[in-house]
């Protein structure tokens, strides 16, 4: 088995291009990175090719866009098993859990921005190796 085949794919969804660049720098050594700048692009990318992991920012074009994307992915049987790391602000997590309640769809991990590179790497490795 060559290294190329073993490389897992991660989809990075965030509207800040600089942030995306920074995270890509951390992860590119071991994973193939695809990017999307908003919810629509993210869903299109997933439809084209399922990633092995999705790193998702909460607020892009509107306040809870990240949650909407996560919810859509979890409702679809084809994509519901793709692990998701949600990047949020602490208060967003708390508040939106209160607001969203039963339509709340948990992600696998929540991380607070700004995210420390090695912590992120550790979480990714824990989820998809």
């Amino acid at each position: 088995m060559s290294e190329q085949e073993e490389r897992k794919t991660i989809l990075l969804v965030d509207d800040d291009a600089v942030f995306v660049e920074a995270v890509a720098a951390v992860l590119e050594a071991r994973y193939t990175i695809r990017t999307a700048a908003n919810g629509t692009e993210a869903l299109e990318s997933v439809a084209r090719e399922h990633p092995d992991l999705i790193i998702l920012d909460v607020m892009m074009d509107y306040i809870s866009e990240g949650f909407d994307v996560a919810r859509k992915l979890r409702m679809d049987s084809a994509t519901q098993n793709i692990p998701i790391i949600m990047l949020t602000g602490v208060d967003q997590m708390y508040n939106y859990r209160m607001e969203v309640d039963e339509s709340w769809v948990p992600s696998d991990r929540y991380m607070e921005k700004p995210v420390a590179p090695d912590k992120l790497l550790a979480e990714v490795e824990a989820l998809i190796g």
Binding site: V18, A22, A25, V26, N95, K113, P114, A116, P117
Partner: protein
């Protein structure tokens, strides 16, 4: 709700009174019936069956009255009808008493004092004027009865059989009756007048209180809406500040921890990206500060007189000309007339118009045209900022003037932008007494219409205002 003419007693109170008298009436009917049954045993023959019939009639119309009261309770305007009922039942009671008096000796009847009872009771429910009329009618009725009986046109029914009409005592009784009835109405009215007036006041006050509490309710709802909007605004502001900070920190950490080498292209991208985000942060902070200041009424300069908008716009054309050229956008003035504001703050107007023109240029496609149209329409300057750029979709048109709202197509067309430019422009224009409106079709362009009244006077310069304090 305007005060009804006879609002001297509350409808519920009048209703209660009518019910109470309704109950008393049973006693009256009962008493008359008893008198009619017992009278003959005492040699008083005239009372049977006459008083008994009167008693039955009274009982009958009392039943009707109760039915009427029950119906009125469900009626939409209970008060007016209750008043008619009150007058009606007093008049009928007096008529019934008149008949009973006739059969018990007319002007020499022992039942005469009951007229006084009705006068008192009536004055408590009805206006004095109506009671005087009823008193007069009762006296006339009594006088007519005496005259008819004395001429034998009507039969005389004395209590003591064989008793005859004595003109002198009859006349005296008549005089006493008149004095008594009118006197009682007068006395009862003056005693109850203050009570009635207080009722009117109470009625008015209750009405006012009701209005006030409705207003209060409305104000409280407004305040809680404002509070909600404020905290929503603060949450978004905090996010807008935290987001670039997060990117800066992460970028620098990536470099510091060796995930990227500053000497490489990627490293360089991250460093300059972090610097860009710092700029974004500074811009956002500055814009937030400016928005807050304008909202507090702190403008960039003291108010000036006679601000010429044509000049303001022309100067902007000069300063933004190169910027427009860089983007291959044609900036076109279209001014008809000279618009001079009585009062204005030029630096703030410059900033507002600059934001609007800058936006128009930003969201235009290369080779496009931005027109700034100035007209004077009914004592106001109307400035239209017209572009043929990417436009705004229907769902976002109402929101673009709010803080931090950037439509998705705007973000795609130009990633940078604090989302505050239009909010600031709106505040400035409203501080000048004006309005701003947006019309747009996605993909075809937008028109922002600014209306500034020429003669708006700012609060602190109003003629009767307190002496002005200088703006910080």
């Amino acid at each position: 709700m305007s005060q009804p003419r006879f609002a001297y007693i509350f409808a519920p109170a009048l209703y209660g009174r009518l019910q109470w008298f309704g109950r008393l009436r049973w006693f009256a009917a009962g008493g008359l019936a008893a008198a009619s049954l017992l009278g003959p045993y005492f040699g008083i023959t005239a009372v049977w069956p006459s008083l008994f019939i009167v008693a039955c009639v009274i009982a009958l119309y009392n039943v009707l009255l109760w039915q009427l009261l029950r119906l009125r309770k469900q009626h939409v305007h209970p008060f007016v009808n209750l008043r008619y009922i009150a007058v009606g039942q007093t008049a009928i009671d007096l008529a019934a008493l008149m008949v009973a008096v006739h059969f018990t000796g007319g002007i020499q009847s022992p039942l005469l004092p009951f007229f006084a009872f009705h006068m008192t009771v009536g004055t408590l429910m009805i206006t004095a004027r109506t009671m005087y009329i009823l008193a007069g009618a009762s006296c006339l009725g009594a006088a007519a009865m005496y005259l008819l009986e004395s001429r034998s046109i009507l039969q005389f029914h004395p209590i003591n059989p064989g008793e005859s009409i004595e003109p002198l005592s009859a006349a005296l009784s008549m005089i006493t009756l008149v004095i008594a009835l009118f006197g009682i109405v007068y006395l009862a009215n003056s005693v109850t007048r203050s009570f009635k007036e207080r009722n009117i006041e109470l009625y008015r006050t209750t009405d006012q209180l009701r209005e006030r509490s409705v207003e209060l309710q409305r104000a409280l709802t407004e305040i809680s809406e404002i509070e909600k909007r404020k905290s929503h605004y603060m949450r978004i502001s905090a996010h807008q500040l935290r987001s670039p900070l997060g990117t800066i920190k992460t970028s620098l950490q990536v470099l510091a921890e060796g995930y990227a080498d500053p000497a490489t292209e990627r490293g360089h991208k991250l460093l300059s990206g972090a610097v860009e985000r710092v700029d974004t942060l500074l811009e956002t902070v500055n814009d937030l500060l400016e928005l807050a200041k304008i909202r507090e009424g702190i403008l960039k300069a003291p108010w000036s007189r006679d601000v010429m908008l044509n000049q303001v716009l022309a100067d902007l054309f000069d300063s933004l000309g190169t910027h427009a050229d860089d983007r291959n956008i044609e900036l076109v003035p279209d001014f008809v007339g000279v618009a001079i504001l009585d009062w204005g703050v030029p630096p703030d107007l410059v900033h507002a118009f600059e934001n609007l023109i800058y936006n128009a240029i930003k969201y235009s496609n290369p080779g496009g045209k931005v027109t700034v149209q100035l007209r004077i329409e009914s004592e106001a300057a109307v400035i239209r900022f017209i572009d043929r750029g990417i436009g705004i979709s229907e769902e976002y048109v109402d929101q673009v003037l709010l803080e931090f709202v950037r439509a998705p197509n705007a973000k795609q067309h130009a990633a940078e932008g604090t989302g505050l430019g239009l909010a600031i422009a709106k505040e400035v224009i409203e501080a000048h007494g004006g309005r701003i409106a947006v019309a747009s079709v996605a993909g075809e362009g937008s028109t922002f219409t600014v209306t500034l009244p020429l003669h708006h006077v700012p609060k602190q310069h109003e003629p009767h205002a307190k002496p002005e304090k200088s703006d910080a």
